[in-house]
């Protein structure tokens, strides 16, 4: 089985990170990764991208909505 080309590698990164590649493709992916600094960088940047996405803090609920919900919860309890 031939080695992957870089333009094939970049289309497999999400499946790779999901652990969804079949064994043979995963082996070719790992082999390519070991030899190719460009693709190593690319995969690393996809990881950095998901890390940045995961570290975004959402805006808190406005106080008025929060209070309205607590009131609704109290009413329901009765």
């Amino acid at each position: 089985m031939s080695d992957l080309d870089c333009n094939e590698f970049v289309e497999l990164v999400t499946a790779y990170l999901d652990g969804a590649l079949d064994e043979e493709t995963e082996r070719r992916f790992d082999d390519h990764l070991e030899m190719c600094d460009g693709c190593d960088t690319y995969l690393d940047q996809i990881r950095q991208t998901t890390q940045s996405l995961g570290s975004m803090t959402p805006e808190a609920l406005p106080d008025a909505s929060r209070q309205a919900l607590l009131d609704a919860f109290r009413d329901w309890k009765r």
């Binding site: 333009n7 999400t14 960088t41 940047q45 991208t49 940045s52 959402p58 919860f73």
Partner: protein
């Protein structure tokens, strides 16, 4: 590498405890959930509706539905997944009223979601001895720990996500921003792992490309002229 589940810290009570406390009308339990989840819920809701105000109302309506429905919660999904399902249904109804119909079918990948996610010009052309290999390697990015950059990075990432097609935005928000597994996203959206992956792959590539363009404009001296690893 799966993003870590961020749904709860170690001292977050398990579902059985939370559900029992909610059914007993325990306000502290309700506050705990509202404070922990509403921000993420608003962010997801915003992908379905036209304005931030609408998104806040969707979150509010969802919590009211959770209060009303908690007695019928059966524990087949986690409490959070159940809550998010209610959120998605509420948001879709709301989006439809606003003329932003997002039927389930439009959450599936379309033709535009396939095809190369990296500009083919970045690779050597057919006929070249190294056809399909990088013309030039992607430039290594400055260290993400650099404090001066992290605020900018978040702004770039937020903007990149905001301009994605809805279906990609919804999936990347659940998977990468909220940290849900592909099984959980299937429960929330009824999209197969394979279809999610198509959307997630394209969405991540777009956000990465945005960061790449951004870093290309960042002067190395601005980040202290440090040698990058």
């Amino acid at each position: 590498m799966e993003p870590e589940a961020r749904s709860g810290s170690a001292d977050f009570p398990p579902d059985e405890v939370l559900v029992a406390r909610l059914r007993d009308g325990d306000e502290a339990a309700f506050v705990l959930l509202v404070d922990a989840w509403s921000g993420g819920m608003g962010r997801l809701a915003r992908s379905f509706v036209a304005t931030n105000e609408s998104a806040a109302e969707v979150v509010q309506d969802t919590w009211l539905a959770v209060i009303r429905g908690i007695d019928s919660f059966e524990g087949r999904a986690s409490l959070k997944t159940w809550t998010y399902r209610i959120l998605v249904n509420t948001a879709k109804r709301r989006g439809a009223r606003e003329g932003r119909t997002i039927p389930m079918s439009s959450l599936l990948p379309t033709d535009e979601d396939y095809g190369p996610t990296v500009d083919p010009a970045r690779f050597l052309e057919a006929g070249h001895r190294w056809a399909g290999h990088w013309r030039e390697f992607p430039a290594v990015w400055p260290s993400p720990e650099h404090a001066a950059l992290s605020g900018e990075i978040h702004a770039q990432v937020a903007e990149a996500v905001a301009v994605l097609p809805h279906r990609q935005r919804i999936v990347i928000t659940l998977r990468d921003v909220e940290g849900y597994s592909s099984d959980e996203v299937r429960e929330i959206l009824d999209i197969s792992a394979a279809n999610q992956r198509v959307l997630l792959h394209r969405a991540r590539a777009s956000v990465r490309a945005r960061l790449e363009s951004y870093f290309a404009t960042v002067d190395t001296e601005r980040v202290g002229g440090e040698a990058v690893p």
